[in-house]
């Protein structure tokens, strides 16, 4: 099996400041890779650099579409835009960054559908309802503006908006950050289900090791912009080899 996404020697600097350096990643279809590390360790820079939100200084990003291998940093801007709207998806920590607040919930979900050429109102409406149901938002809210939604609902709406076109690779930056635990559990449960049902390939950033343990197959531990340890998720968490990972794992509060 071919990896669907591979990142080689990726570097991103902000002037002299290291954003992330020498980063590598291999993501297979149906796999979830977690990126952990303390705040300021470069997690978000990394995920932004591999998803088209930031332009890295050097490195290689290869995306396997099934028919061809795309060199993500070498393709034209228009093709890149198309990929970002179809094959890739990005779930932001703050759902307000990923949604249009002055467009109805249904309108938000339909945006990607229309961008891939769907025009039939009835079909689009049906898909919207299917996705509202999947993310447990009541159908009656379809024409409401997202600003009337709670934080947890907004996050679920953002997930629906992103997954509606069945993207191949999903990037998530702290998708449960800032949500209370019961809402977090609901979103984690939803994500786990979707990953299996739709065979999603996901790169997820979180500072919460419990979230990563629940979702991820593999893990990358970052510190000062670099990966200090990576591998099988439960191995790195159960038997961490690097001193920083040991510190991180032993700092988690037990409930």
């Amino acid at each position: 099996m071919q990896p669907i996404l591979s990142v080689h020697n990726l570097n991103k600097y902000y002037g002299n400041q290291v954003g992330c350096k020498n980063m590598n990643l291999t993501l297979y279809p149906g796999e979830v890779v977690g990126v952990v590390g303390e705040s300021g360790s470069g997690k978000t820079t990394f995920i932004n650099s591999i998803s088209g939100n930031l332009i890295p200084d050097s490195g290689k990003i290869l995306i396997e579409t099934g028919n061809e291998t795309i060199d993500f940093l070498e393709i034209s801007e228009s093709l890149k835009r198309l990929l970002i709207r179809t094959e890739l998806a990005f779930v932001h920590q703050n759902p307000r960054d990923g949604l249009r607040l002055d467009v109805s919930a249904g309108g938000n979900i339909s945006e990607r559908l229309m961008s891939i050429g769907q025009r039939n109102y009835g079909n689009i409406r049906q898909t919207i309802f299917k996705w509202l149901d999947k993310v447990e938002i009541d159908k009656s809210r379809v024409d409401d503006f997202p600003r009337t939604f709670s934080g947890g609902m907004l996050q679920r709406l953002q997930i629906a908006k992103n997954l509606v076109t069945s993207p191949k690779i999903i990037f998530m930056d702290e998708p449960t950050g800032g949500l209370d635990v019961s809402v977090q559990a609901k979103i984690l449960d939803l994500l786990r289900k979707l990953v299996r049902e739709l065979n999603l390939s996901v790169v997820i950033v979180s500072h919460d090791l419990a979230v990563i343990r629940l979702l991820a197959d593999k893990i990358i531990v970052m510190k000062n912009g670099e990966a200090v340890e990576s591998g099988l998720c439960d191995q790195v968490l159960d038997d961490p080899q690097h001193s920083y990972t040991q510190l991180l794992v032993s700092s988690v509060l037990q409930v």
Binding site: D189, Q235, D238, D239, H242, Q246
Partner: protein, 225 residues
Amino acid sequence: MIELNKITKKFTLHNQGKTNILVFNNLNLKINPGEIVALTGPSGVGKSSILKMIYGNYVFQSGQIKINNHNIDHTYPRNIIELRKNIIGYVSQFLRVIPRVPTIEIVMEPLLEINSDQDEVREKAEKILLKLNIDKNLWNLSPLTFSGGEQQRVNVARGLIRNYPCLLLDEPTASLDSVNKDIVLNLINEKKDSGSSIIGIFHDEYSRKYLNAREIDITKIPDAK
């Protein structure tokens, strides 16, 4: 078949004065198909560490672990993920409860990885839950609030719903009453008879005898320590 050849395992605690703890110096073990090996020895001697090395949770510094001729190699996590999907099953002592997920779905999950027929998988999950005396009323609830024994039986159901060629059992009967213990032990015996290589930790002699297990006292393996 599970084979451990010349395994060295140590823990280095970087943040606690770089303390080195040597668990195994030269560990050799072999578990044949259709055989149950029971690890014995005092607490802290490394019984669980052996299971965790075989499952890939723990790394080892040198030597070789082979599962049906596949190497456990941490430089290729993908291979370990595939081995877990197809060859090695693991029943841990405690159920890792996922919030909000109902019991029946927790039990169905491992089988859904290889069989996408929801109805067929559900039927199998119901069957094993019935066998393990988990009340029907509990199937659609999260096991978060279940008793210790119930949680353990859910965990066993999840681990034994499939027929893995290699099976690791970490005290699967620890908090069970005698009736349910026998039920679980019978299920394990069925797996053995179907040709699985099984290695486990059973704290009571009753279970080890019931399973007709080959007992291995870790402190008595030559050169292991």
